[in-house]
């Protein structure tokens, strides 16, 4: 299996008045056809910026300053805006977090869908409409023909997210970047969306990059997981491996602090301290100040290493099997 999308040492920085913000600083991963890749990390760790970098949509004052984004072997990082437009939506699509905000409130659903079709293929409005209807049906919207000419506000949040997914699916893209698409939804609706997405990914062979801060969500969805901390991927590998045998102390801490993993009435295992500001990162491993295993050696930059369990982690003091409480 070859990777549809391969990100190599991606660096996206923001040049603000206060200084350079290394929002993404050397991120590498790849996704294969039909696979789901979970990109996990806490707020501000650079997940969204990574997603936008893949879409070629980093806005000023941000800029991709290094690395490559290989889509089917072709480097996208230096494309011009026009070339990006041809790729966006057609080969790589994106879904956003808040379904209330992703659809333009003043345009009909049909307008927003048809324009997405016509942006890439020159077909008649009628044909484009047919295609939209078919896609809406695929994501489980009942009686799409009647609802297509409605405005977004006439839809519930779950429905809107389905519409957004349908728009992403219009051209059967090879890659879909989903940036926390279920976070804002209710539990029962989230489950519905997850089920739909799961079906679609399996059916069409689309590669999915699922961005989330909630390990629980990806644990049952993703084939591979990459954990981000302060702009870097600190650990990545097969989902089962990473979750079962977290090597990086951060991943470990993350898993341990999920409440349902702990007994009731007992204190949760917690990671002390808090995420450092990106403008003022500690030298070497950014997790060092919060890490129980940290030593002076951690002051050096940590390249990703392969762990005995098979995953890659940027850590010289990985968690030993025995420390990982089950």
């Amino acid at each position: 299996m070859t990777a549809v999308l391969q990100v190599e040492n991606l660096k996206t920085h923001f040049f603000t008045r206060a200084g350079v913000v290394p929002a993404v600083d050397g991120v590498s991963f790849s996704v294969n056809r039909g696979e789901v890749m979970g990109l996990v990390g806490e707020s501000g760790s650079g997940k969204t910026v990574t997603g936008f970098s893949i879409m070629g949509m980093v806005d000023k004052p941000g800029r991709i300053v290094g690395g490559r984004i290989l889509y089917q072997g072709r480097d996208l990082a230096n494309l011009r805006e026009r070339e990006w437009q041809a790729i966006r939506g057609r080969h790589i699509a994106m879904i956003f977090q808040d379904p209330m905000m992703t659809l333009n409130p003043v345009l009909k659903i049909s307008t927003q869908m048809i324009e997405a079709v016509q942006a890439h293929v020159h077909i008649s409005k009628q044909a484009a409409r047919e295609r939209c209807l078919a896609t809406l049906a695929r994501v489980g919207i009942p009686s799409p023909a009647e609802r297509m000419d409605a405005y977004p506000h006439q839809f519930s949040g779950g429905m809107r997210q389905r519409v957004a997914i349908a728009i992403a699916l219009l051209h059967d893209p090879e890659v879909i970047v989903a940036d926390e698409p279920t976070t804002a939804l209710d539990v029962t609706i989230q489950a519905q969306i997850l089920a739909e997405v799961q079906k679609l990914a399996e059916g069409s062979g689309t590669a999915l990059i699922w961005i989330t801060h909630d390990l629980s969500v990806v644990s049952s969805l993703a084939d591979n997981i990459a954990v981000m901390y302060a702009g870097r991927v600190v650990e990545q590998g097969r989902a089962a491996t990473v979750l079962r045998h977290p090597a990086h102390p951060y991943t470990h801490g993350l898993i341990e602090s999920i409440p349902s993993r702990n007994k009731r009435g007992v204190d949760l295992a917690q990671i002390p301290g808090m995420t450092p500001p990106l403008l003022d990162l500690p030298q070497g491993c950014a997790f060092r100040p919060r890490c129980p295993n940290a030593t002076d050696a951690c002051r050096a930059d940590q390249p990703p290493r392969e762990m005995p369990t098979g995953q890659m982690a940027r850590c010289i003091h990985p968690m030993r099997e025995s420390e990982v409480a089950q």
């Binding site: 707020s43 209710d186 029962t188 629980s216 084939d223 949760l268 917690q270």
Partner: protein, 333 residues
């Protein structure tokens, strides 16, 4: 069971569209619409014992916050009573109000919006105690330091403004502010939902510690069953403004009785080590403005029968548990 600290009975809250004269006139002329009513909370009863943590679970719009706000005295109930330490606090007069109000404090979801951005942390924490004469202005500095320390912040934090703190720290400031008036009862409305997992763990631990050390009771509002399972002694499940099930935490998680509870438990994403298939319940939560008749859940319930759309199920007490479902009460036929 000891005497309940908080007891709410038949609590209801209806929000009614405010119709002015013109709208009423139009309605009279048959060309407008009657003011729409939202039954945000519909005949809810439960109690909280001293030192107990009760989890309040439900999806968006189910009325969790409304219940919390009514107990905190921020919203008058449309109907029903709220007794705190035996006294009805919905009909109390102003002098009593203040004293009782201070006993119940609320902690909100978004720590940024619950702090006045234009006040220093010191003033935020000491304002109410000074106002109520609990401490004097000269004691404030010392007092604030104490409070900050109690929630795990440096005393110097008092000199700064809220925007200079991270989310988790802000939530601690909010907690310190609440603790400053020595409450007995905290209402936590999604208090950890906005926090990252690692920070959430810190705050949850803080809640647990305060409970141990100060003997606080909590009403813990959350849609995250994992959090509720971890922290609560008992859980109340709401659906569209009504209680569908009340049970001790262990019992609920091992043996949910109401179909909705069952569905919720099945669908909460939990850390698993294998990919799994999602099998969601169908349909969406109906609008509270126009809820389905009978059992609100019958439109989505896999077990629904004819009776469910006709008759509102009673909340039947069964030992420590209570369920409102016809399945438990003579069948759905």
């Amino acid at each position: 069971m000891t005497e309940a600290l908080l007891e709410i009975a038949n609590l209801s809250k209806r929000f009614r569209e405010d119709h002015d004269m013109a709208a009423r006139l139009a309605a009279r002329m048959g060309m407008g619409h009657e003011p729409a009513t939202v039954h945000a909370v519909d005949d809810v009863s439960f109690s909280v014992a001293p030192g107990e943590v009760v989890g309040l679970v439900g999806e968006s719009g189910s009325g969790k916050s409304t219940i919390g706000r009514m107990i905190a005295g921020l919203l008058p109930p449309t109907h029903g009573t709220i007794r705190f330490e035996g006294a009805d606090i919905t009909t109390r007069n102003r002098a009593e109000t203040t004293a009782a109000a201070l006993q119940i404090q609320m902690i909100f979801q978004d720590p940024m919006s619950s702090l006045n951005p234009r006040m220093r942390v010191r003033d935020i924490i000491s304002e109410a105690p000074v106002y109520h004469g609990i401490i004097t202005q000269s004691q404030a500095r010392e007092f604030v330091a104490q409070m900050l320390e109690r929630v795990g912040l440096e005393p110097t934090a008092g000199d700064r403004y809220p925007h200079q703190f991270s989310g988790g720290q802000r939530q601690r400031i909010v907690i310190a502010r609440a603790l400053a008036v020595s409450p007995q009862f905290l209402i936590c409305d999604e208090s950890v939902a906005a926090l990252d997992v690692s920070i959430q763990a810190q705050v949850l631990n803080l809640f647990m510690r305060l409970r141990r050390e100060l003997g606080l009771a909590y009403l813990f509002i959350s849609h995250d069953l994992g959090v509720v399972e971890h922290i609560s002694d008992r859980v109340v499940i709401l659906y569209l403004g009504r209680v569908v099930e009340i049970a001790p935490t262990d019992a609920l998680f091992s043996d949910a009785r109401h179909p909705y509870t069952q569905a919720l438990l099945a669908e909460v994403p939990r850390l698993s080590f294998e990919k799994r298939r999602f099998e969601p319940i169908k349909g969406e939560i109906p609008s509270p403005m126009n809820p389905p008749p009978g059992c609100h859940f019958h439109t989505r319930c896999p077990f629904a029968g004819p009776r469910c759309s006709r008759e509102v199920p009673r909340l039947r007490q069964d030992g420590p548990r209570a369920v409102a479902c016809h399945l438990e009460d003579g069948g759905v036929a």
